[in-house]
Symmetry: C2
Subunit: 403 residues, 2 copies
């Protein structure tokens, strides 16, 4: 019996490079090895009690559909959140999505047709590849470098990649996987390019609260000259350690685009209902103290990362400025092999450390093969232990000539 073929986009979609080491990790666990996970952005901090309380209070009779653009309470609460940093957002400019993931998909599909192009800066959040395949959009990478802390490449390198099919520039700021925060001058430069080429600027600002060393993150919403061409994609997953709630949102002041998002939203009916009440309560009731305590915690972990890894022979990265990631160059030629080896061949007192090889965060073949991404989502003691094992592993891997 012949069977029908799967689609091209089905064949082409990238397997998650973060998750592809999972079988080796499972095998290590079967052998009795414990694993420190620095490979995935799953925060360890508790989901605030405000979430659980609100969800409990909404356990009503019928768990019904909500509005396609989200419950008004949540859209209003998000506007208040922006109001705290003097950014004026109207509830009509906010649409609730099923996670930041859906926000990115809708943003791509609302601005691009199949075959259109979006410029992005590699290394980038690897799931953009999957979303782009689903949307049948081509991601055109411009390479940023560990040498200057993954800040923007020169102006001409960006503009030279713009074609008639380019519909948007996509940024992640603060950045996953690099921890870089764009300066106002850099955002202004992108705003100029977007205006000159009449394209959109799509900004994933999921990590906007996590800015270190007294930095203030600037949102693309604060650049009035591009207000019609800006789309913000956001999520509560990291902000409130609520990854499993699957709630995010889109913000745009472009009314035509918002009406498109609404129609996309109607097709899939609504985002999860219960989580929205929990999210609204967190946005309303968590104040500066909460955000400050979370930033302090991530900054401490960043500092531990600096102490443990920075300046070691062959290891190179600049001090991460925000989010909870670092992309780090190691003195090895193939971090895919090194990360796998850490799981299959190395342990200290029954423990090993799992990291994400960085090649999966690049679209250009061959890039990032000597880099890893670390997510510092473990508390201080575990962080130190995880990094000490990583260093020991690196030393052995290099000294035995495997690098």
């Amino acid at each position: 019996m012949s069977t029908p073929g799967i689609s091209r986009r089905g064949a082409e979609i990238q397997e998650s490079p973060i998750r592809k080491l999972a079988p080796l990790a499972a095998e290590a666990v079967r052998r009795g090895i414990s694993i420190h996970h620095l490979n995935i952005g799953q925060p360890d901090i508790p989901t605030p009690v405000e979430f659980w309380t609100a969800v409990k209070s909404k356990m009503s009779n019928v768990l019904a559909y909500g509005p396609s653009n989200g419950i008004p309470e949540l859209r209003e609460a998000i506007c208040s959140y922006y109001g705290k940093t003097d950014i004026d957002v109207d509830p009509s400019e906010v649409m609730i999505t099923t996670g930041g993931s859906e926000a990115v998909i809708f943003a791509m599909m609302g601005t691009c047709d199949p075959g259109d192009e979006i410029i992005c800066f590699e290394p980038f959040y690897t799931n953009y590849n999957g979303f782009a395949t689903l949307a049948d959009v081509r991601l055109v990478p411009v390479t940023s470098s560990v040498e200057n802390g993954f800040h923007l490449p020169p102006f001409e390198e960006i503009t030279s990649r713009i074609t008639p099919r380019t519909k948007a520039i996509l940024i992640c700021n603060p950045n996953n996987p690099t921890g870089t925060i764009l300066t106002d001058a850099e955002i202004a430069e992108l705003a100029d390019i977007a205006s000159d080429s009449n394209i959109f600027l799509l900004a994933d600002e999921v990590y906007r609260d996590f800015a270190f060393d007294g930095r203030q993150h600037s949102s693309v919403l604060e650049f009035p000259e591009i207000s019609e061409r800006v789309v913000v994609m956001d999520s509560i997953s990291k902000r409130f350690s609520s990854c499993g709630a699957r709630l995010g949102n889109l913000i745009t002041r472009n009314r035509e685009l918002m009406s498109v998002f609404m129609k996309f939203g109607q097709a899939r009916l609504c985002p999860p209902t219960l989580s929205q009440y929990g999210a609204a309560e967190m946005y309303r009731n968590l104040d500066h103290d909460y955000y400050r305590s979370v930033v302090r915690m991530y900054q401490n972990r960043r500092d531990i990362l600096m102490e443990e890894l920075h300046g070691r022979e062959g290891v190179f990265f600049l001090k991460p400025e925000g989010a909870f990631y670092a992309t780090i160059r190691l003195p090895v030629t193939d971090t895919d092999d090194f990360a796998a080896w850490m799981l299959t061949d190395f342990s200290v007192d029954g423990w090993t450390t799992m990291v994400a090889p960085a090649a999966g965060f690049y679209a250009t073949p061959g890039m990032g093969t000597d880099e890893i991404r670390i997510a510092y989502v473990l508390e201080e003691g575990k962080m130190r232990s995880a990094l000490s094992i990583l260093k020991a592993g690196l030393e052995e891997y290099v000294s035995t000539g495997r690098s």
Copy 2:
């Protein structure tokens, strides 16, 4: 300042025809009119207590990401559910999705590329239009008729629409918006067509538990000769009155296609975590008594619909066989106008009834303009009241020559 244009698919995506009367409904409410909603498939029956209990018990410290294909407990519980009707499904053949909506989108994107075609039978669940636009797939409608209770059109009408770009046939069984259940012979006919043309058969079986008059619903999973070309799309929204949970699933025995669904799933990380525990508990603990009581309730409502509307002058439909919908021909030429008029101009003792004009459920322009869809999701007393108002409205509308 020029602004960049939105995408073609953004411009083309259909506004929900079910939701487009919403502004008139809101205006009626502002005037003090109460509305019986027969226009939308939001069940009124309580979400089972098993759901709430399980969700409460999982209110843990960190609301974390779950597996991309869903928690194992839920996938296993779904297999047990199928086991009760002697259908053998393995957990590896099940993938949990964010609502039935995502299941349909993944099924379309896994089997089709932009520009490919899917044959479907109109009238069909209107949101398929939105999903098809997102997937850039063309829905090719074959018209079914109220005259034979919306059963399959002749074989040749179906096969004549197959082209080299046809990748699948899409059915909804039991059917939204018609309440029709395909016979085994009809499914076998579609299986033959799918085999002969080497295409997929995508079956939305969301309403499979709701089969009336002692009927037994047959799943496409029960036709071994097409096991490699079948995809079932399902949801807990209607089965367990849990629309706001946003949980559905895909089932396929085609391993290549399942691996594609997994990669799609990895891109969007995971379905809502909390809801999955609730769903698993409902699948595990609700027995025949639950399903029987729900079917009896919907069948009673179906019977009320028959008593109140069937056989009235100019009103035509056959007795619905399952789900909780009926598509009904009225003695009017434009049900868009009639449904709007019911909201703007008609009420009885401060109440009116909202129905869905059926044109939005057809892809062929001009079809269904004399039909409405009714969702019988109200309890007996309200159903009678809603239908009595509908009849009175229809009488006045027709007698004043508006039809």
